[in-house]
Symmetry: C2
Subunit: 200 residues, 2 copies
């Protein structure tokens, strides 16, 4: 680590290095930046972390993170309760909310099935999903899972489990992303976009 810095700095660097995207070198840079801007950044960030640790709750309905339980999406009565969008993690929910076009509700799965990591359905919020989908209110379950092997395995499994609920099960469309140059796209995406072609 920093070798000649005090134990407080060493500990700060060691913990910062555990953040995703930061390694030992960038953790040292971050620690220095924090210590240089003590009143503008270090103290406010410490307070924001303490506040988040105390205030942020997991929504008992959808599994999202928010200051309130139920979360702001679940308690928003203008939302369409007939649409239920399944995401892997809260990050996916945030991404869809930034898009701004979805007005239904969510269900955070808490991960994906993974044979490699030995993660089965019992470690995900599958039972809660089936119960919500079968409550009668939900008309369509949209699977917004990543286009990876684990994501598609999970989608396949969920589609089977949800068949009994009577809700329609759909997936996000695959195709060319907005602004996507064909030259830069992988072959799998081009093949899928071609198969799913539509009248212009």
């Amino acid at each position: 680590m920093a070798a000649s810095a005090g134990p407080e700095i060493e500990r700060l660097i060691a913990l910062l290095a555990k953040l995703p995207g930061l390694g030992p070198r960038s953790a040292r840079r971050s620690a220095l930046a924090l210590l240089k801007r003590r009143d503008q950044l270090l103290v406010p960030l410490a307070q924001a972390m303490t506040a988040a640790a105390e205030q942020v709750k997991t929504c008992s309905i959808c599994g999202s993170l928010d200051s309130t339980d139920p979360c702001s999406v679940c308690s928003d009565r203008t939302r369409d309760g007939a649409l239920l969008c399944v995401v892997e993690e809260v990050g996916g929910l945030w991404a869809l909310e930034r898009g701004g076009s979805y007005r239904g509700r969510y269900h955070v799965l808490g991960g994906l099935l993974s044979a490699l990591d030995g993660r089965g359905p019992e470690s995900l919020r599958v039972g809660e999903l089936v119960a919500r989908a079968g409550s009668g209110e939900v008309r369509e379950v949209i699977l917004a899972l990543p286009a990876t092997v684990d994501g598609q395995t999970t989608a396949h499994y969920l589609a089977e489990r949800l068949a009994q609920t009577g809700a329609a099960v759909t997936s996000l469309a695959r195709g060319v992303p907005v602004g996507g140059e064909l030259d830069w796209l992988d072959d799998g995406t081009i093949a899928q976009a071609l198969r799913a072609r539509r009248p212009a």
Copy 2:
């Protein structure tokens, strides 16, 4: 930002995004990682930051950061007080200490001269450096400044200012870094390594 998360999460993301190397996207990932590992990471990091904000001081002699003032290097009597190494920032001091081969003392300049940013000698710890170098104890001042235009301008200026003190002024050697393939080195480094060639 995250749109549908509470104010605590929004604030946490906004502050994390100010760390060097983190942008809005990686700040969101970091916030989620922190909230998922609340007791193992979020709370300890908040405490480490609070402790650092309270305990870490700027050394009144060399300008380094440490839990004590004077810092552990300045108060280490086994260090060679005849050698004084000038670094731009604390990060440079840490890098030299990790190297482990330097046993002299340091002087943190607090920046570099920059015509572009309008930073003159009065905003750096130049006066303190000249005073320390002229105290009689210092035999050699080693300029460990970056090999950039600003770094070399600063080194040139310091060499002139330090001429009156009687201490010898040296710079870090320029050349091929350890493990450096000639193929991958820039032309300037190769030219300097060639000019400064030594008997094998």
